[in-house]
Symmetry: C2
């Protein structure tokens, strides 16, 4: 969109650059003694301060330079949530390199695509994720070296990876002084690839400016300050950890990194949350569901009345929000976002006047909505012809977003230009309505993707794979509501004549050549035909309606 110049106040070349080093520097000046806690692989808690962390960031910057990482280089990071990952969040982009966040749950094929498409030449990898890194080696020819995060001596590490460095050894040998470059705020800070919708993962490159401005917004809208204790549960390879590490730095809040975890570790994590007096966290509903069950069994209920839990990924049930409120006083706050929109585009915050006007039941119902579009963003709802729809709480159209941290392009993917409008909006692919108070409600999904435990599974990819099997004539994959994972895939399959004896296991085995285990459908149903719309497309809406209770009955 054309920019109109007014009377010149500042030469952009004189602008103070909104890069993450400037964000971090002030955090150190004011909050040097603030604590950072990190759950190690053995479950014990490591503790240090912002000041300690900053010294290691400078050591990391020197280390990366010493092994040949240059301004503009892309460096992959395959790591759990830890103080190392936090150091990398600043020390790596601070030298002008790009942090390519590698989703450790992706199938090797997709992960290799990300590494190759981004031109990643170094990878930093957690000791216990070495096998994930090894799985992509045959597909990635341009990786010059691997930096292993481990407390062990490098000689004790068993791996086929070559050109190894030890993260700790590098830092130990490096100088603790580093003269950060005055980085252009439009430089790439991190690359995140979204695997949601079509065959190829698409690269969203966040600029330093994007990250800086979202950190400010998040601190402001979430009323975060140095009295807060932020629990980083959301994987840091997901959309820069939903901006919480950066907002915590801006606010000077205490940080706790969850380490490696699955749903099985939630009892331990819930205990840490209570012991450390966590006041801010973020996760998907499935995680909070399990936490609530754990809290219900506690003989003494924790007081979480100062705690705000951001809940993203899908709609939190009222029973969950109410349960948390009644058991602990903690508030679950629904938020909506995407990789393209940098995770936080809405926050469901209560308005003082609505608290007075609405009944308790109406307020709980309101909390299910995705919430208010955060300050600073533009939103439009449009119909199929691109006409803008009113914000009347009824009209539902595709959600278009524009703002300081909404992406305006996918990296090196000219075929995706249609995902953005000429006036700078990102087409979310989600349909929703906005009420007169500004609360967004997602009503439908335009893109055919499945959300499982906060992770995306592309139905289109899976359908394409299925119909490439010799026995399969037609296939449709849809997301069906699931009590624990929000959605799990269901595959409907029409077998070719003569292949009627094909088994479910045979098909699952075929899929597992391409897809990660957690992506495979929970159920495969063999049907006579698959419903189609009038224009011949798979009628997924109908399928989802027909099978909506399939997984909830189990």
């Amino acid at each position: 969109m054309k920019i109109v110049k007014g009377f010149p106040a500042e030469d952009p070349k004189e602008n103070y650059q909104l890069n993450v080093i400037n964000l971090m520097k002030q955090g150190i000046r004011n909050f040097a003694r603030q604590e950072i806690v990190s759950r190690k692989l053995d479950g014990t808690l490591f503790r240090y301060t912002y000041k300690d962390s900053y010294e290691r960031m400078k050591r990391l910057a020197n280390s990366l330079k010493s092994i040949g990482v240059k301004i503009g280089d892309r460096v992959g990071v395959l790591a759990w949530n830890s103080h190392h990952h936090f150091e990398i969040y600043y020390g790596l982009p601070g030298i002008g390199a790009v942090m390519v966040s590698l989703n450790l749950r992706l199938a090797p094929k997709d992960l290799a695509y990300v590494v190759n498409h981004s031109g990643t030449s170094f990878i930093i990898v957690d000791e216990d994720l070495i096998t994930v890194a090894e799985s992509i080696v045959p597909l990635c020819k341009n990786i010059r070296a691997y930096i292993i995060i481990t407390e062990k001596d490098l000689s004790e590490i068993q791996t086929t990876l070559r050109h190894l460095y030890s993260y700790e050894d590098l830092l130990h040998e490096a100088s603790p002084e580093y003269n950060w470059p005055n980085l252009d705020e439009n430089s790439a800070y991190a690359a995140n690839y979204t695997t949601g919708t079509t065959g190829k993962p698409k690269g969203v490159y966040y600029s330093h400016r994007n990250v800086y401005l979202q950190a400010m917004m998040f601190t402001a809208q979430f009323s975060m300050n140095m009295n807060d204790v932020v629990f980083q549960l959301v994987p840091m390879f997901h959309v820069v950890g939903w901006s919480k590490p950066q907002a915590a730095t801006y606010a000077g809040a205490k940080l706790i990194f969850s380490g490696r975890w699955t749903l099985d570790d939630l009892e331990e994590l819930t205990n840490i949350m209570v012991q450390e007096n966590v006041t801010v966290s973020g996760a998907v509903p499935a995680v909070y569901m399990s936490m609530l069950e754990i809290i219900r069994k506690m003989p003494q209920k924790p007081d979480l009345s100062k705690t705000r839990f951001i809940c993203g990924g899908s709609e939190p049930p009222i029973a969950l929000m109410r349960g948390f409120w009644e058991e602990t006083g903690g508030e679950i706050i629904h938020s909506y976002g995407s990789t393209e929109a940098m995770a936080i585009t809405t926050l469901n915050l209560f308005k003082p006047w609505l608290k007075k006007e609405l009944s308790e039941a109406e307020l709980w119902n309101l909390k299910k909505k995705q919430g208010l579009i955060t300050s600073g963003l533009d939103i439009k709802l449009v119909d199929e012809s691109g006409n803008e729809l009113p914000h009347d709480g009824q009209s539902s159209g595709e959600i278009l977003l524009r703002g300081p941290w909404i992406t305006t392009n996918y990296y090196n993917a000219p075929e995706t230009k249609g995902n953005f409008t000429e006036d700078g909006y990102y087409k979310s692919g989600d349909a929703g309505s906005l009420d007169s108070e500004g609360f967004l409600k997602i009503t439908d999904r335009i893109k055919d993707v499945i959300k499982s435990g906060g992770e995306w599974i592309s139905s289109i990819d899976m359908e394409n794979t299925l119909v490439s099997h010799q026995a399969i004539l037609e296939a449709s994959v849809v997301g069906i509501p699931h009590p624990k994972w929000d959605e799990r895939p269901l595959a409907l399959i029409v077998l070719r004549a003569g292949f009627e004896s094909t088994s479910k296991d045979e098909i699952l085995e075929y899929l597992s050549n391409i897809f990660a285990k957690w992506q495979l459908p929970d159920e495969i149903l063999f049907v006579e035909s698959i419903p189609r719309t009038s224009v011949g497309k798979l009628n997924k809406k109908l399928i989802r309606t027909e099978y909506k209770d399939l997984y909830s009955k189990r």
Copy 2:
């Protein structure tokens, strides 16, 4: 400072512009029903909403266009704090014009200088400030028209000003729809002239980006949200009202505009503060002193335990802060700034660990310091040779500031280049120390200015005027601590031989040709000689020390 480009993430031309229209738009979407209260000239309270205000901003934009205001034009504003002024804050810079804030307390000569230097061609003026506007007419030839803010019919207004418009009539006739330009964030939003240090006022032109980023910072660091009620006491012609109107918009807070006021109106204003449940305000110590006295006389003490009072201009005494705390539960928060640094550069906020470690007396003492440099700024303390000093709480040097809203130049004043460093720092002219926790303490003033009730008086200007009097040989003007006004001027004068009979009144009358009444010295002392430093400069430090109790004893 040279900007280093990393891997390109965004084309700056695709950046969402941080201009105040984008700031306001989101406020309207989410907080349309939020209330705005405005104290009228007759003392009654006018109430409307953000939505109402936004409609009038669009009408104002159309009005300005209709009378010939173009992108880049400078438009003066001579107005009290009111909802009109708030509408002007967005409607005027929103069309790409520059809001030239006119300090209604300046002497006509200085005010005319500001109007002429900025190239102001239109002036918006409050009905009861018409005489101020009239006083500059003979000195300003390029003003095309005046827009009078009044509820009266234009024919009832008695004035010698020519080419008059009525603000209300213009808005009434204008369309409520306006298509805002996509304004470059580096365009000038407002011009504020500082009269602090040398003869000519110096123009600080705030960009939209400056204003937007400080609004975000202030919302974040002050933990402001839509539950807050912001009382705009600080004159809106001072440094964009210390950013509170913009931060309130960002946060969606309720706003109250004080209208025309002097210290005599504080009882009424204090009552409004209590009735409207104000939670955020800003003022100089003299204002809070009077408010505290008023509160002390109230039979029932108000509960202001949610209220944060920013206190700028000079150091708030412990007795004041403690008094507020004990009487109301309200917290006074010391802040430091300047026109060049957009008012808010520090906030004295308590750290959780210091609350545990320090005694009560130590905490009160700490609250006197200027506080933590706000997130996002760089600070340096340097000695006279420009060497950086340690942050040890002892070393005192000139405070250099750099950051997203710190100015990097004065408009059209090449002779002032020395006030800025090559690496982008603004030389504040204040000396201070920083302790290891990051708290700033102002220790001395390098520039010779006097701060009276939050307003600046230039001692150098006054000295130059004095020595131009035929009877005066030497003169020195210094600021002496004053219980109500923080500082008031004292003039030391050495009379020429043969002029010994010159009276104080004669000198005061001479000064009042140039200076406003409130700027005149409270005392003039005739002395034999004035102390000088070894290099022959007036030794103001010594004078200030010698006479430090002069005004407090009265």
